[in-house]
């Protein structure tokens, strides 16, 4: 066996693994706060990547219209859900957040996009477009069923994924796009090359992992977010606004998803369904991390990335078959070790 090839495979695996790790983290985060198995996270990756790629070429991304659309529907859903408790202040506040804000963002993008700003500025614009979609989506699809079982939420998430992937196809077409790298830095490390792009992915993964681990275990606010998923009624009874908890989780999910997409856009061609495929691997990692531990999820993601890189070299035909079959023993082990006393109603 050639050790250089092995090193290349490892590097490839670790870079992909770090991306999977970021998405695995999102899965854990969203589940820990809302009990939603967040299938549509891949769409945030796609939207982020393709929005950035379009901005790089000086075009106005279609996601701004989607942003406005999401905002308007979320506004309507919000008003409908609080129809018994409406006042002028609330309507104005909601209109500011859900209609005026996305319109302002869209106007800014239309003004800025043709200027062909530097990559970091485009990254910020991308985040500004994608991030608000998270909480809007939560309001539209999940808040009305927030009390439902994990399985119902799962199926709703699948529905959202179908719609968002379809919208991705409508907005970006079936053609793939590639982004410009954020930095052109490249350091030779032995036979390998560490680019600024891959290094920033590693840093982002580690920082996100550490930050979220701290946030959900130390400050009371982080614990309050977790409490929302553990016992929703209990959380309300101590004064935690559970809909706000969900919205915060979705803000974080959208930011991390968009960042993941933006960072991977220069490395590979992104199609309208690429995000879903990356997300699926992240999802596997999160399951191995038993939808609870951030560090474990990242480690599992690296393992998935490496296993995939090796499989693609030695048995490229059966890469997916191998990766997905590998989860089954993990699931069995997790299921046995999670002391499940009784699956009460639902």
């Amino acid at each position: 066996m050639d050790s250089t090839i092995l090193l290349f495979l490892l590097q490839d695996g670790i870079t992909n693994g770090a991306l999977y790790g970021l998405l695995g983290i999102v899965t854990v985060l969203v589940f820990a706060v809302t009990r939603i198995i967040f299938v549509p996270q891949g769409e945030f990756v796609t939207y982020g990547a393709l929005t950035l790629a379009l901005l790089d070429t000086g075009r106005v991304p279609g996601t701004i219209w989607l942003l406005i659309g999401f905002g308007v529907v979320a506004f309507a859903v919000e008003l409908w859900m609080s129809r018994h408790d409406l006042n002028a202040r609330k309507i104005v506040r909601e209109a500011l957040i859900k209609i005026i804000l996305p319109c302002l963002i869209a106007l800014a993008v239309i003004w800025l996009a043709p200027m062909k700003l530097p990559p970091w500025a485009n990254l910020l614009i991308t985040l500004a477009i994608i991030t608000p979609m998270g909480p809007y989506l939560y309001t539209i699809a999940f808040r009305p069923v927030a009390e439902a079982s994990v399985l119902t939420l799962f199926i709703v998430a699948i529905g959202v994924h179908l719609s968002m992937q379809g919208l991705g196809l409508v907005l970006f077409g079936a053609e793939g796009l590639r982004g410009t790298p954020l930095s052109t830095l490249s350091l030779p490390v032995g036979p390998l090359v560490a680019t600024g792009q891959t290094l920033s992915i590693y840093v982002l993964t580690l920082v996100t992992m550490a930050a979220l681990t701290y946030f959900f275990n130390k400050p009371l606010f982080g614990k309050a977010l977790r409490a929302t998923a553990i016992n929703r009624l209990g959380a309300r009874l101590v004064g935690i606004r559970t809909s706000l908890s969900g919205a915060i989780a979705f803000v974080l999910a959208a930011i991390i998803g968009a960042l993941t997409g933006a960072l991977s856009a220069p490395m590979t061609t992104i199609y309208y369904d690429t995000g879903f495929l990356i997300g699926l691997k992240g999802f596997i990692a999160a399951i191995i991390g038993s939808l609870a531990s951030y560090p474990l999820t990242v480690i599992a993601a690296l393992a998935v990335g490496i296993a995939e890189a090796l499989a693609s070299f030695y048995a490229s035909q059966f890469k997916e078959v191998i990766v997905f079959t590998l989860i089954i023993p993990v699931l069995i082990w997790l299921s046995l070790s999670s002391h499940h006393v009784e699956e009460e109603e639902e």
Binding site: L220, V238, R241
Partner: protein, 239 residues
């Protein structure tokens, strides 16, 4: 300012097919313990849930003279009401101490630390178990934790749903002693109880609820002596 802390007028609550509340009116005067007794399924839990805002209701609910009928649960907690629900609704996979700290989610961190000490003084058992996961506590300890968590919010009105359900006699006695203490500490209490004997002993006034309606109300001591109440809810004191 009236001395009525909570005033419920002509409340209607629909909930599923079974439990429902039809036109119920209840007053909780400041500094008093008011109990609602009645059979399981009479609508007592529904009444409390509606008072707390968990279930939507028609009618009038005033707390400290303000209409709170449309207020969401979270705002009622901030306003000074808390509920200890029948199923306790603890954060089972979190330690006792985190459960309590979250109980004080809406108060300042300084007040929270102070309040935690107070709760630990009132429930020394919880202090011993502060690091234990709430889900591993025994029934009595869970009830104490649920009450402790509710007290962390510094409520002026504490609503208790079946605090003695499934508890051993000695712990029931403890719980009722604490209820009495809380009254002297200035907390008003709305108590829903299956254990009518203990409830009437501790309460100032009482309501009897049957099939979603209030059928009797008066001083707790008077009701405890009412022959109909004795026959249906109390039985003869044989032990």
């Amino acid at each position: 300012m009236s001395d009525l802390l909570l005033s419920i007028r002509d409340l209607f609550v629909s909930y599923g097919k079974v439990e429902a509340v039809h036109g119920v009116s209840i007053d909780v005067p400041r500094g008093q313990i008011v109990t609602v007794i009645g059979a399981n399924g009479a609508g007592k839990t529904t009444l409390l849930n509606a008072a707390m805002g968990i279930l939507p209701a028609r009618g009038a609910i005033e707390f400290e003279g303000r209409n709170i009928l449309r207020q969401p649960v979270e705002d009622r907690v901030g306003g000074g009401m808390t509920l200890v629900p029948e199923r306790r609704e603890l954060f089972a996979t979190m330690p006792v101490e985190d459960n309590l700290l979250l109980g004080g989610f809406l108060i300042s961190s300084h007040e929270r630390a102070q309040q935690l000490e107070e709760v630990f003084t009132r429930f020394p058992r919880l202090k011993e178990r502060r690091r234990q996961l709430a889900g591993t506590l025994s029934g009595g300890e869970r009830q104490m934790l649920a009450m402790g968590r509710a007290l962390m919010a510094k409520p002026r009105l504490l609503m208790l749903d079946e605090p003695s359900l499934g508890l051993a006699p000695l712990i029931v006695a403890d719980i009722f002693a604490i209820i009495r203490d809380l009254r002297s500490a200035g907390v008003s209490i709305l108590l829903v109880e299956q254990n009518a004997r203990a409830a009437l002993r501790v309460a100032d006034s009482a309501y009897v609820m049957e099939l979603g309606e209030i059928t009797l109300h008066g001083k707790a001591a008077d009701l405890a002596a009412d022959p109909k109440i004795v026959e249906t809810y109390l039985g003869l004191a044989t032990h």
